[in-house]
């Protein structure tokens, strides 16, 4: 469905834009129908830049992004609007996505004005209720409320409901649970996993390895803009092969296992751009030598 063909992103830096900084380097992967793919990386790994390029919020410097076979960079005006009917994003901070002066369900009104101007009011109300129920919220409890009366988890799920109204095919979820409490976070994750039964593809961008591990079928680990390891989640987490992935997994705090504090800390593996090698079926590792 969505394919990235060795895309790169350069940012101009320096006082006069003379120097360039490569935030994303030759990244290729695809997301299929009804598939949850997690994109894991630390700060500065370019994970959000990739999400923004897919959403056309940032331009692609080299390479191309295709959706259902068509290059998305060519879309202008009405064609771009149609693209957003299929692809939507939800971001980290649900509190800043709402105008505190208006009721929270105002976010749905813009969708109606832009995409469904001719749908009668009753039918639209039903559609909203169905979408709100699809994200496991009780319409009576959340509709007509102001943002401060709702919890972060509820606001975040309303934004997902807003995306569902369009009957989208791909959701770019950029750190959507990092502002939520542990007890409500899991409901949003379960929701994402349930939505794939409706055929929704999800690109789940996160820095938290355990969350990525929980929801996704495929995992992509990024480091400084390039992919270091990619494959089915159970292979990447069960049999990590790149030293960087091994170090990341070693640093994750686990509930039932304590860190060995006295153990020699593995050194930060040296960084180099290496080609991806298929280590086992479907499991790609940068610079892997069998």
């Amino acid at each position: 469905m969505l394919s990235l063909h060795s895309i790169s992103k350069d940012y101009r830096t320096g006082a006069f834009g003379g120097a360039t900084m490569t935030a994303v380097r030759d990244v290729s992967f695809d997301v299929g129908v009804g598939e949850v793919v997690s994109l894991i990386g630390e700060s500065g790994s370019g994970k959000s830049t990739i999400g923004r390029m897919i959403l056309r919020l940032a331009s692609v410097t080299r390479g191309k992004v295709t959706f259902d076979g068509a290059d998305i960079s060519a879309y202008r005006g009405p064609a771009l609007k149609e693209y957003y009917r299929d692809v939507q994003g939800v971001f980290q901070d649900p509190f800043s996505c709402y105008n505190p002066v208006f009721r929270a369900d105002r976010v749905f009104a813009m969708i109606k004005e832009e995409y469904f101007p001719r749908v009668p009011r009753e039918e639209w109300a039903e559609k909203i209720e169905a979408a709100v129920e699809a994200v496991r919220l009780n319409p009576g409890e959340v509709l007509g409320k102001y943002p401060h009366q709702l919890s972060g988890g509820q606001l975040q799920r309303l934004l997902i409901a807003r995306a569902l109204l369009l009957d989208i095919k791909l959701l770019v979820a950029d750190e959507i649970t990092s502002m939520l409490d542990a007890s409500t976070r899991i409901d949003v994750l379960n929701l994402l996993a349930d939505l794939k039964a409706r055929g929704l593809g999800v690109l789940f961008i996160t820095h938290d390895l355990s969350l990525g591990n929980y929801v996704s079928e495929r995992t992509i680990v990024l480091r400084r803009g390039s992919i270091v390891e990619m494959g089915p989640t159970n292979l990447v987490f069960g049999n990590p092969l790149h030293p960087y992935t091994i170090k990341l997994l070693d640093s994750v705090p686990r509930l039932h296992e304590k860190w060995d504090v006295d153990a020699e800390r593995p050194a930060e593996p040296a960084w180099a751009v290496e080609p991806l090698v298929e280590a086992e079926p479907g499991h790609f590792v940068a610079g892997y030598a069998a």
Binding site: E42, A182, S210, H256, R265
Partner: protein, 315 residues
């Protein structure tokens, strides 16, 4: 006992009345103990941390006492607390990136800070050098501006500055939540190392992440809506929690190796009560699967096993 907090109650003043953010919390922290303070947003964990060092303008000390090494801390009196701050009670702020003065060289800033607490820079200079060495920072950083340091370096610098005078109590409030996983591990283990070397006598490590706190804390205290829910040795909280809230919270945490398709985790339905007018009785009652009539009265924290306190009448 290094720290003894009895029945501490702190309210926030708002236009609509007092928000009872901390409501009668009693606990102790022993010498050389790291207490992990866990809870969700609005549980009162940061309010507790702040009360022990500096209350902001909206906070009001309503009742209860705090005793550090046998001396009572005048926590409601901003001026009188100055004698204790930094020397006896110190704090590592959450955002190390913005904790350093950007217009001053770091060494100069440290000297100013020491000066304001009546300590001569020369008398601690040697120790400062040794501690920078310990966290693998070159001594040259003292001649640099904060902007010249990376995020991880600033975090380590702040840790060294906060503990320079060997405070009795160190409060670390969400110090790792803005960091990457690998830096997070380094910061957490460094903090534990400071305790092991005796730079700080005891520590309160505040975080929302139980799996992280479990890595370094000796005891974990779980708070809910301004009250203590459960306090027990770290392993007990994770392996055999007794309070229904702690149980539900532990069960909602995804771990590496747990996948949706194999084991679906459940969240806790509902949300915490408003602390403006909290309902009488147990504050977790509305979300609790075990709630019954008796939960209408506030359950006292009962010691169910040595060192294991639970505030629930079902436990």
């Amino acid at each position: 006992m290094a720290l003894r907090v009895s029945d501490l109650t702190v309210h926030y003043r708002t236009l609509r009345g007092a928000v009872k953010a901390l409501d009668g919390v009693t606990f102790e922290v022993g010498d050389g103990e790291i207490l992990g303070l866990a809870g969700e947003s609005g549980s009162g964990k940061s309010t507790l941390g702040k009360s022990l060092i500096r209350m902001d303008g909206r906070m009001r000390h309503v009742g209860g006492t705090v005793e550090l090494d046998g001396k009572e801390l005048p926590i409601g009196d901003d001026g009188a607390m100055n004698r204790f701050r930094y020397k006896e009670v110190s704090l590592i702020p959450q955002y190390a990136m913005s904790a350093l003065n950007p217009t001053r060289k770091i060494g100069k800033m440290v000297a100013d800070l020491l000066d304001s607490h009546g300590v001569r820079y020369k008398s601690v200079e040697e120790e400062l050098g040794r501690r920078l060495d310990l966290v693998e920072l070159p001594a040259e950083v003292l001649g640099k501006y904060p902007i010249e340091l990376s995020g991880g370096m600033k975090q380590r610098m702040v840790m060294v500055i906060s503990t320079l005078l060997d405070p009795s109590l160190l409060i670390a409030d969400e110090v790792t939540s803005a960091l990457d996983v690998s830096t997070q591990k380094a910061v957490a283990t460094t903090l534990a190392g400071f305790r092991n070397r005796g730079f700080v006598k005891s520590m309160i490590f505040i975080t929302h992440d139980i799996s992280l706190t479990h890595q370094i804390a000796d005891t974990i205290m779980v708070m809910y809506a301004g009250k203590l829910a459960e306090k027990a040795p770290a392993d007990t909280v994770v392996r055999a929690p007794r309070h229904p809230y702690t149980k539900a919270l532990i069960n909602s945490l995804p771990e590496v190796g747990v996948q949706y398709a194999e084991r679906k985790l459940a969240g806790i339905p509902g949300s915490p009560p408003s602390l403006l007018n909290p309902p009488a009785g147990c504050r977790f009652r509305d979300r609790c699967p075990l709630a019954f009539d008796k939960c209408g009265e506030q359950p006292p924290a009962v010691e169910v096993a040595p060192g294991h306190l639970v505030a629930c009448c079902k436990a």
